[in-house]
């Protein structure tokens, strides 16, 4: 079954990645020219730290959500759903985890397809119908399939380094009155610019990948409407959830199906597109199904 490709989305994704790449090249270039070896240790340590974070990302994400891997016997239906959707997506079956939380949400983790896990909250299982849950799980499998954890980790690697130089770079200025301070100041200013611009680009990239995962999920289940109604249901529920839960889970937003709303964070800063836009895109897919 053929689906009309979304060239606009592809174009925006390529452009964002290209800009990010160009920015990073310029950043590395500036650093290479102005940089003294004084900042070198921070780079080595951070690289190791980020590598470790990447390596343990699956366990970390599950742990921070209080999610536990569940067996076939405990959640037979959930396992069967994941297994069949994985088969349709041609993906080895990921681990299945459940987080005991009233917030209706789901996320996928894992740096590679083999180490990946799909996690759903007890809240989402109570809220959604089986078909809607299928749509959400397919969306998460699409994230795994597209290697989104790896892509986003790589995309934000130099951004994180830049942030750390902005934050801790002064430590390497070598103290008062010792030598030329100019390189360190240039490094910090350049890092600040790179950090701000890359932050916006990474957020844009994250939103485009959400759209891509929505498409992927809809194609896997063959029911764009199921995911659409799940998104609407969750975003409606989201506003009614108590505040405490929201704060606890704010850091996990980037991996959620629908991020928890926070008034301050504007559209440019959000990791996920607006629900209305996502639903509109899914509606287009649904129409395409009927008018093929």
């Amino acid at each position: 079954m053929e689906w009309k490709p979304d060239w606009g989305l592809r174009g925006r994704m390529v452009l964002t990645m290209f800009l990010l790449f160009a920015l990073y090249i310029a950043f590395v270039g500036v650093m290479a020219v102005f940089f003294t070896s004084r900042l070198f240790p921070i780079l080595v340590v951070m690289t190791l730290f980020l590598a470790a974070q990447f390596f343990f990302s699956d366990k970390l994400a599950l742990y921070s959500m209080g999610a536990k891997e569940v067996s076939e016997q405990e959640y037979p239906r959930l396992h069967a759903t994941v297994s069949r959707l994985a088969q349709q997506a041609d993906l080895p079956k990921p681990k299945v985890a459940v987080a005991d939380s009233r917030v209706p949400n789901a996320f996928a983790t894992g740096r590679s397809r083999k180490s990946s896990a799909v996690c759903v909250t007890t809240g989402i299982m109570d809220t959604l119908t089986e078909e809607e849950l299928e749509g959400v799980i397919a969306h998460e499998l699409a994230h795994i399939k597209n290697r989104d954890v790896a892509v986003m980790t790589i995309a934000s690697f130099l951004s994180t380094i830049a942030f750390l130089i902005v934050r801790w770079g002064w430590l390497f200025s070598g103290g008062r009155g010792r030598g030329n301070q100019a390189p360190v100041i240039v490094a910090i200013v350049a890092s600040l610019v790179v950090w701000i611009v890359s932050f916006l680009l990474i957020r844009a990239l994250s939103r485009y990948r959400e759209f891509a995962a929505d498409r992927g999920g809809a194609v896997i289940t063959g029911k764009p409407s199921a995911l659409a109604s799940a998104l609407l249901k969750i975003s409606g529920e989201m506003d009614q959830v108590p505040k405490e839960d929201l704060r606890d889970q704010a850091e996990m937003n980037a991996f959620f199906v629908i991020p928890i709303k926070s008034g301050i964070v504007g559209r440019l800063f959000s990791t996920h597109p607006e629900t209305e836009k996502r639903v509109e895109k899914l509606r287009e897919l649904e129409r395409e199904l009927e008018t093929r």
């Binding site: 079954m1 053929e2 069949r84 699409a142 399939k145 891509a212 199904l289």
Partner: protein, 215 residues
């Protein structure tokens, strides 16, 4: 993994591309000769039933494709006597169940149904073909599942409470590997649990047929 795969992942297209990839029915016929080995060497007899599992699409074009499959199987029924029935399982997946004492007719029927689905443009929705075998002594019913997504066979022996009889599966794999194109990556051996019924597609079709005739 090739450069092309990496590029598709980087652009977020991998999920869409693989979920819509055409079915690969090429090696489905492997079992129409391999069943002899099943009987001769492993003492597993065909249970007279097979089924095709597919995930539906929310569109009228798909409903039409389903009707076409029914028409093709109807024609086949009058020719070879292969009875068939459409079913929806507890997970909302669709099945075409085929019953025939002649095993080769079962494989042909499954192939016809799959082929019709592919011609209608819904080949990518075919998940698996399942062929049931009964052991000669006591033991669990064994299945050979054909993955249309990967074009390979793999054994599945459910042993109650979501456990698999891996020893039996290992035996099936080692004896029939070569004769059948067996999936080498075990992480792709997806189960299709019977969910309390006789078969993954529900109650035994052959048995209900017999009941219907006696009533």
């Amino acid at each position: 993994m090739g450069v092309f795969d990496a590029l598709r992942q980087a652009l977020g297209l991998a999920a869409e591309a693989d979920a819509t990839r055409e079915a690969d029915p090429e090696d489905l016929f492997g079992l129409s000769t391999a069943y002899v080995t099943m009987e001769a060497e492993l003492d597993y007899a065909p249970a007279g039933e097979a089924a095709l599992c597919f995930s539906g699409v929310d569109s009228t074009a798909f409903t039409d494709a389903r009707d076409e499959v029914a028409a093709v199987l109807d024609a086949g029924e009058s020719e070879t006597g292969t009875a068939f029935e459409f079913r929806t399982d507890a997970h909302g997946y669709d099945w075409v169940v085929l019953a025939d004492d002649d095993f080769e007719d079962l494989v042909t029927g499954a192939h016809f149904a799959a082929d019709t689905m592919m011609e209608a443009g819904f080949g990518s929705r075919l998940l698996a073909a399942a062929f049931a075998f009964e052991p000669g002594r006591d033991g669990e019913t064994a299945y050979w599942l054909y993955s249309f997504r990967r074009g390979t066979y793999y054994p599945f022996v459910p042993a109650g409470d979501r456990e698999r009889d891996s020893a039996a599966e290992f035996k099936l794999e080692s004896v029939l590997d070569g004769e059948l194109d067996v999936e080498s990556e075990k992480s792709y051996w997806y189960p299709l649990w019977p969910e309390g019924d006789v078969h993954p597609w529900g109650a035994s079709f052959a048995a209900t047929e017999r009941d219907r005739e006696t009533n």
